[in-house]
Assembly symmetry: C2
Homo-oligomer: 310 residues x 2
């Protein structure tokens, strides 16, 4: 029986989709392959924003309102950092620091990001596999009209204001897929491989930039299905729509389908967006995920589409 599901995902939107899927199957059958292009060092600590968002979301700790970090977070650390004149453009919560401090210390001792992530997940009772795309550094750099910016400087410090004309992934050429990534994609028991409704250019492309992952997707047995991050000609969150505009791309499901072709076998698009030939089979549904119920509904629609493509 084909019961294994793989999801390529970034942070918030992707985490919601993964959470929806986790309600529909045995979590042990689910593998999330997570973007590490946003990872960066801050105060000498290794911060992995997308992995942490997955861990918080899947363990019920995520702050649903602000869309990042922990629910009920306290901010004494940042207050003291400010009182000492330290940088405060990137907010690290007190509890959130535990992940960064423990991760940094173990990386320094030579542990891999994938092993550390697996230990964090199991410590918090998360039964599905959360895999970084790579154990090596793959750093998303945004080429803007203000010059190249590290992802977090673009995203947090500059609030996505600079105009983007290209995105590159430093270190991707030397990176290897983390242990388990190619196995999950190539698994003969895989029922579906999903590309979550994350930012294609900033969250999914850094995963696809890791040598071997694109090839594994091309030759996978399971259908590759993307969930469009475009909803009614806009993006739900983050800079996806603004970025598409700056890159001269129409904000439509067709752009998303074209971006992932020829890897793609199907697309789940929002019912608010126009129907038109996408080059792959597609299904329209309400893809907005506000409640857990919404997440389950979207995950279910994605699974249905994948099952029809076999």
């Amino acid at each position: 029986m084909k019961d294994h599901v793989v999801v390529l995902t970034g942070g918030v939107g992707g985490a919601k989709f993964v959470l929806g899927l986790a309600q529909l199957m045995a979590p042990s059958s689910l593998t999330a392959i997570v973007n590490v292009g946003d990872d960066f060092r801050h105060f000498g600590l290794h911060v992995s924003p997308d992995i942490d968002t997955l861990l918080y979301t899947l363990s019920g700790k995520a702050n649903a309102v602000q869309g990042w970090g922990r629910e009920g977070e306290s901010w004494s650390f940042m207050q003291q950092v400010r009182s000492l004149g330290g940088e405060d453009w990137f907010a690290l919560g007190d509890g959130d620091l535990a992940l960064h401090v423990l991760r940094s210390e173990r990386l320094q001792r030579g542990h891999s990001l994938s092993r550390i992530t697996a230990d964090f997940a199991s410590g918090w009772g998360i039964k599905l596999s959360v895999l970084p795309a790579s154990d090596q550094l793959v750093s998303t750099v945004v080429e803007t009209d203000e010059g190249p910016l590290d992802f977090q400087h673009y995203f947090v410090a500059r609030r996505c204001e600079p105009r983007v004309h290209a995105v590159r992934f430093d270190g991707a050429d030397r990176a290897l897929p983390a242990p388990g990534v190619l196995e999950a994609i190539g698994n003969s028991k895989a029922r579906a491989i999903f590309i979550a409704p994350s930012n294609p250019y900033l969250s999914i492309d850094p995963i696809l930039a890791v040598p071997g992952i694109r090839e594994a997707l091309s030759s996978a047995h399971a259908p590759v299905v993307a969930i469009s991050p475009v909803v009614g000609g806009k993006a739900v969150k983050g800079p996806t729509a603004k970025l598409m505009m700056e890159l001269g791309l129409p904000i439509t499901p067709a752009t998303i389908a074209a971006h992932y072709a020829p890897l793609l076998d199907g697309l789940l698009k929002d019912e608010r967006d126009p129907d038109s030939p996408l080059g792959v089979p597609y299904v329209s549904a309400d893809t907005l995920m506000l409640s857990l119920h919404d997440r389950i509904r979207v995950a279910s629609a994605a699974l249905d589409l994948a099952d029809r493509l076999v």
Copy 2:
């Protein structure tokens, strides 16, 4: 006019004495030379417990009840560390982490401990000089009946329970006095050099173990005056009395005076302890420092004694 005062100090008790002195003179005339033998790495962060106690005490942030850390501290970080199975024998408060994280990051960038400490002090409006005894690692190791223990393992994890037979300072032979230390001690304007009522074996000896400091004290113009940490045959706090017992030493001011001879020019002892020849001039006073008023009184008595010795 001789108006400069130097204090060799450990953490809590010494910090109280320094705070008392700071009420009696221009803070810019005061230099605290602080023990770094307790410094250690925890979670990959460089923790400097005695320097931090000075910084918290002198900026009004110290927790007066527990005797270490910040007033009004929160503990989200430790809660999350525990939830991830991390070590929790040494408690790092959320706000306290700011010092450790910023310090570690700057040390990694090649900044010296003394420069970082000076920046922290000035960031918190502390006008006196807080100097680490050395910018190099001087690690206090306690030889016990359970074998050698790093200071914090002995002090915090094992709560000073193992029986001590010797103390050594790893790295001291290769350490240099931090910039400003020898200058402060040898300053021709120095009015007094105090040895704070800290643990002689665990807090002051690591300072004296840094090559050059003992010699500078011997040849200093200013009188060297110790404040006895023994009060009524006991120590106010920490393992001083237990340690003296295990080392076979009577818990008396005479033991303290003998320990610091021949550096010592005078001793301020508590009035509860018996009067007896100490080999140096001494004065008896109430040296218990519970209130700020007490701290000022003890500092004043120490200054009076020093002035009489010139």
